[in-house]
Each structure stands twice: as structure tokens, then as C-alpha cells.
Symmetry: C2
Subunit: 195 residues, 2 copies
DNA sequence: GAAAAAAAATGAACTAGTTTAAGACTTTTA
DNA sequence: TAAAAGTCTTAAACTAGTTCATTTTTTTTC
């Protein structure tokens, strides 16, 4: 089996057990996608056709506000899932751009195959139930931190939680994620490093 | 069938179809709970034993920061779900208080019955998959708004999204949800009303 | 229904984070 | 490998939101 397929099967197998046949069936529903550094996986205005699992590389998802300032909603590296679940599910145009910050490789599942998957292997309802449950727990935490922590505290949290991501992204993008300007991010970092 | 049971069955039936027997089985796994205004459904430090569906009333969930300032993570009224999913799933002590702001009635499912439910009626994997998916979509939006909108914009959003909640809660609690002080909330409201 | 307690409004002094601008450093491109 | 473009740093002036203190209004309690 390919390395990328092994990675996604291992990811799924954390929550459900699949037979060999089911693994093959699942893999047959996936599409391989490569995105070069600085290329877009998707852009605002499109209706998202796929949800993606990353097997290699790093991507950022962001919206642009009325002044054209980017607000980064997520970074994603190997073994993470990415996409715009709201657009994928509701079939409404997305407000997100997803751009590769390194040459990346992904496995995508189309909306049609996603629906088919639940019919063919109902166990996947459980997989996604648990996956969404866990994502939900981290977004609840993040939405609380956004309103209750200072920018400096959010930066310290991020570094602690994603030590493997912090040195793969620019300071400017991190500022867009934390919700502050790059200038203030620069101040915070030099302050935290001095402590 | 009791009104409260009818309400929860209708809620579940939006995503999955249940036979009469399954409905009865599901209801048998639920526990009725009443909470008086200003009483706690749960408190920080406890390990959450239940997830709740509200059949009557209104509750708020909040954490206290290091200075003892409350940050409200959610309001919930009839036909909403509430609880601390992180503590419920991980069996770690919760950091949340959930307090009734009106006399309230709820249906709780214990962790043991929640696990049993998936064995007895696997269709519920699908129900929770969709429920968590939808919650996830709204928390992703909220966590982005927390970092990309001003307090005034967040207030206007809240009023638009939850017109049925805004006049059942105090301005002070709304401030705790928006992530600002009650004083600044007061200023925003008088400004927005003047517009 | 009077007294007490809590919520809301207002204002002045303050602070976390923004804006604008300019220079130094790093990466990309031709 | 030079020039162009993007990123990072620093600093001064500014603004969104806080803090603290006081008064008014509303709600709760006995």
C-alpha cells in the first residue's frame, strides 16, 4: 500500500476497525491532489467539492475582510483534515481561500463519495461522529480563548499546542491566526523571547 | 407521549428516522432534570455525567478567568443541547459552570447510556455525526468572528442570529458572551439603538 | 410596598492593540 | 548575482475597549 494511503487508513483506524475489503473500498473513493507552494486548493466564491486529508505539506485557510485583510482560520499539516465543511455540507459558496505554504499532497473525498461512503460502510458515521466531536471540542476552546485571552496569551497557547506548526509558518500568518496585526505580533514575540 | 418527549423526538427526527420501538427505547435512556432559576446544572471541577436537551427554560454556560471574571461560552433555550462535551467525553473535570437563568426542564443522557445508545440503535451515530457537524460549523464561524470582528459587529451578529435569546438574557451576560465589559456593552447598545 | 441588591448608564483616566511610515533583513525571481 | 518583492523590526500617534467611580433604574426579597 502507498504511504499516503497507509497514513489515512491509520488515521481512520484510530476510531473504527476496517476489514481489508473496506479499506480498499474506502481508498477507491478518494482522489489524489497535489498543490504547489503558493497555489490554491480552493478559493472564495467556489462551492467546495471536496474534504481533504493532508499526507504531505502545509496549508492555510483564510477569509478576507471588507478591507482585504486576511484572517487565518486554520493551518493544516500532514495527518490533519482540511476544507470548508460549511460549504461542503450546505453547498453554498465558500468564503475561504485555502493556499499551500509548502508543496503539498492531499487525499480528497467528493461530496458524492462522502454520501456514498455512509451507505456502503455505515461504520464511517461513527468515524465522522468522533472526528467532528473532537474538532468541536477544540473549536469551542478556541472560540472561548478568542474572547477571554489577550493576544499574548493566545500566542503562548498556540506555541504550546502546535510546536510542530509554529516554525513552519510566517510570523505574519501567525498574526492573522491570532487575530492581530503583524506589527503587534512582532512586539509580542520579542517580549515573550525576552522573558 | 409527554410534551418534552415529543420535543426531543422531533429534534432527533430531523436527521434520522426512528421506529416506535426505537423511540421508546431512546426515551427510556433519558433522565428528567429540573433546575430552578439561579441554580446550577453543573459546576467547574465536576466530571460531567450528562449531556442535556432543554425542553423548557434558559441556561448559560461560563468559565471564570484568573481574576474571577465570567466568560460566557453559550446560552441555551428550548430545543437546544447543552453540557460540557469535553468533560463528558474525556472524563476530565470540567472548567464550566452551567446555571439556569429561568426555571428550566431538561432531558439528560448519561455517559453510560450514551455509549449504550450507539450499540442498541447504531443510527444514532448518524444523528450525532450530523449534530456535531452543524455545531462545528457554527463554532468555526464564532471563533473566526472572535478574532476578525469588532465588539459592535459581534453584537449586531448575535442579535440577528438569536433574536429569540437576546431579550431573555441580561446585558451583563451578553457582554460576557461577546467578550467585553458590561460598561462597554452598555455604550455599544445605546450607540446601535441611536443608529 | 419599602428596603436591599443587582443591573444599567455615564464619564474620566487608562491600556492593549492599530495605523502609518521608514529602514533592515530575507527570500524569490530573472 | 542583482534587483525586486516580501517579511520583520521599531517607533510615534491613534482608537477600541478597560477600569474605576458615581448615579439612576430595575429586580428581588421580606
Amino acid at each position: 500500500m502507498k504511504d499516503s494511503h497507509k497514513l489515512i487508513i491509520d488515521n481512520v483506524s484510530r476510531f473504527i476497525d476496517l476489514t481489508e475489503l473496506e479499506k480498499q473500498k474506502y481508498i477507491s473513493l478518494l482522489t489524489e491532489v497535489k498543490v504547489k507552494r503558493r497555489a490554491y486548493l480552493m478559493q472564495a466564491g467556489e462551492i467546495t467539492k471536496y474534504e481533504y486529508f493532508i499526507t504531505k505539506g502545509c496549508l492555510k485557510a483564510y477569509t478576507l475582510d471588507v478591507d482585504g485583510v486576511p484572517h487565518i482560520s486554520m493551518f493544516a499539516v500532514e495527518d490533519y483534515w482540511t476544507g470548508d465543511i460549511a460549504s461542503f455540507i450546505t453547498k453554498q459558496p465558500s468564503r475561504y481561500f485555502i493556499k499551500a505554504t509548502e508543496d503539498s499532497e492531499l487525499l480528497g473525498i467528493s461530496r458524492a463519495n462522502y454520501d456514498l461512503l455512509f451507505q456502503e460502510i455505515p461504520k464511517f458515521e461513527r468515524f465522522y461522529r468522533i472526528l467532528y466531536q473532537r474538532s468541536l471540542i477544540s473549536y469551542i476552546r478556541r472560540s472561548n480563548h478568542g474572547i477571554s485571552l489577550t493576544a499574548e496569551e493566545r500566542y503562548i497557547e498556540f506555541k504550546k499546542k502546535y510546536p510542530n506548526i509554529v516554525n513552519r509558518i510566517t510570523q505574519k500568518d501567525l498574526a492573522g491566526y491570532i487575530g492581530i496585526t503583524p506589527e503587534f505580533m512582532s512586539k509580542i514575540i520579542s517580549k515573550v523571547n525576552r522573558m
